[in-house]
């Protein structure tokens, strides 16, 4: 199941050129860019691992694409996203966030039903990928 989230969730995956242009756009707005990765596809998994520190005061997309490239090399089978943070007063939040890499095979989720008191049923999403320990999900290419 193809996991989607963020700004371009309804579009097909962006090409490298499109990613570069989005970065250029964010930089032109003065947003700080951060690269993050994870191997837990759960939709409530909000805080991903940071790849280095967020990048402030950049002028050109080359610096960010370089980090994305490095992150892809180290985590070839992970989700990677770019966050653009706007520090402007009253925004002070992520303005743009999109996925720039996903694992080759995404096994998806199963729905778990738990019987609770009074014939109530509780529903939980369980990602098949998380059955395996961290770092060995998605083909276990990482050690």
């Amino acid at each position: 199941m193809r996991v989607t989230q963020g700004t371009f969730s309804f579009l097909p995956d962006l090409t490298d050129e499109q990613i570069r242009k989005q970065i250029e756009y964010s930089l032109s707005k003065g947003w700080a860019l951060g690269v993050e990765y994870t191997d837990d596809p759960h939709p409530r998994n909000t805080y991903w691992e940071m790849w280095g520190q967020p990048m402030f005061d950049l002028r050109d997309a080359a610096g960010v694409t370089q980090e994305v490239r490095a992150c892809r090399e180290h985590h070839p089978e992970c989700y990677i996203r770019i966050n653009a943070f706007d520090s402007e007063r009253n925004f002070e939040t992520v303005r743009l966030s999109f996925i720039v890499q996903r694992p080759t095979i995404e096994p998806g989720f199963r729905l778990e039903r738990t019987e609770a008191a009074g014939r109530n049923v509780r529903y939980t999403l369980h990602a098949y990928a998380t059955d395996r320990p961290h770092g060995r999900r998605y083909g276990g290419r990482e050690t």
Partner: protein, 301 residues
């Protein structure tokens, strides 16, 4: 219809036979930038000639590209050597503009750094620090002032070496992402290059900034004053001429920078004189520096 369209399309794809370099020159608008350089920077003839050479080379490379010849991007890393106050930073700023107009750097901004910005204080601190500076400079020009401080031969464990290695790697592999300019005083830069042969071979353009002569310095002082909307009286100009000759003999003479400092101090003295002055002060008094403002300097003492 289609028969007509075909030859038209073919003529469009065939490479052009001749390129008007002047038209290309006008197109990139580099002429105005070079003229500005001539007008605003006093003296520095060899530097200006070298910049024109580099600009021409880039222009020809552009033309070759259009004709379909191979055009490996020229190495643009430079080294500026010269005494303090000879205009290395100012020229670097201009260089960023020139390279941008010619399309060799994308953004044309200048990032000025020294050893402190590149080298960390403990193990593992240097690489991220250097890389962050490099990322900030991408698309523009990285100007490393007093570059020889990066290399400290007396300390084997100095982290400067680590910064140098990362720099060299980026200078080699990401030539189209950024241009590096190393600057520093002549003799020390030479020893720096001798102990780091990797740098010498990766830097194509060594530009030496000569000292200004007395007339040039006087012209510079007048320009500084004019920019701040001051003028020199005839006697003040004479006093300044004498000041320059005397100042040159003293230690820590820093060419144009010394003149800027002298101007700032003369402004202080002028302000003091005007405040103590009896009666009204007119436009002339407010904008004119007198000989007494300059002759009060300790240089004349």
């Amino acid at each position: 219809m289609t028969d007509e369209a075909v030859p038209h399309a073919a003529s469009q794809t065939s490479p052009t036979k001749a390129i008007d370099l002047r038209a290309l020159y006008a197109e990139t608008d580099i002429g105005s930038l070079l003229t500005e350089l001539d007008l605003e920077l006093v003296g520095l003839a060899p530097v200006k000639r070298r910049i024109r050479e580099i600009a021409s080379l880039l222009l020809v490379t552009r033309a070759r590209e259009r004709m379909g010849f191979s055009s490996a991007p020229p190495t643009l890393h430079m080294a500026f050597t010269g005494n303090p106050g000879t205009g290395k930073t100012t020229v670097a700023l201009r260089m960023a503009g020139i390279l941008q107009r010619l399309g060799y750097v994308r953004k044309g901004h200048l990032v000025c750094v020294t050893r402190d910005d590149l080298v960390g204080q403990y193990i593992g601190h240097t690489a991220p620090k250097t890389k962050e500076v490099l990322k900030r400079a991408m698309g523009g020009v990285l100007f490393i002032d007093e570059a020889y401080y990066l290399y400290r031969p007396e300390n084997e464990k100095d982290y400067g070496q680590e910064a140098i290695e990362i720099l060299l790697q980026v200078m080699e592999n990401q030539r189209d992402d950024l241009t590096v300019i190393l600057a520093g005083y002549g003799a020390r830069m030479n020893t720096f290059f001798e102990s780091n042969p990797g740098f010498r071979s990766r830097i194509a353009h060594h530009i030496d900034f000569p000292d200004y002569d007395d007339e040039e310095l006087l012209l510079i002082a007048e320009k500084i004053a004019a920019t701040a909307q001051y003028q020199l009286s005839e006697s003040a100009r004479e006093a300044l001429r004498e000041y320059i000759v005397r100042r040159r003999q003293q230690p820590n003479f820093a060419n144009a920078r010394s003149l800027r400092n002298a101007f700032d101090r003369a402004r202080l003295r002028q302000a003091m004189r005007l405040v103590n002055h009896e009666g009204a002060v007119g436009v002339d008094e407010l904008t004119t520096l007198e000989a007494s403002d300059i002759r009060a300097s300790r240089v004349f003492g």
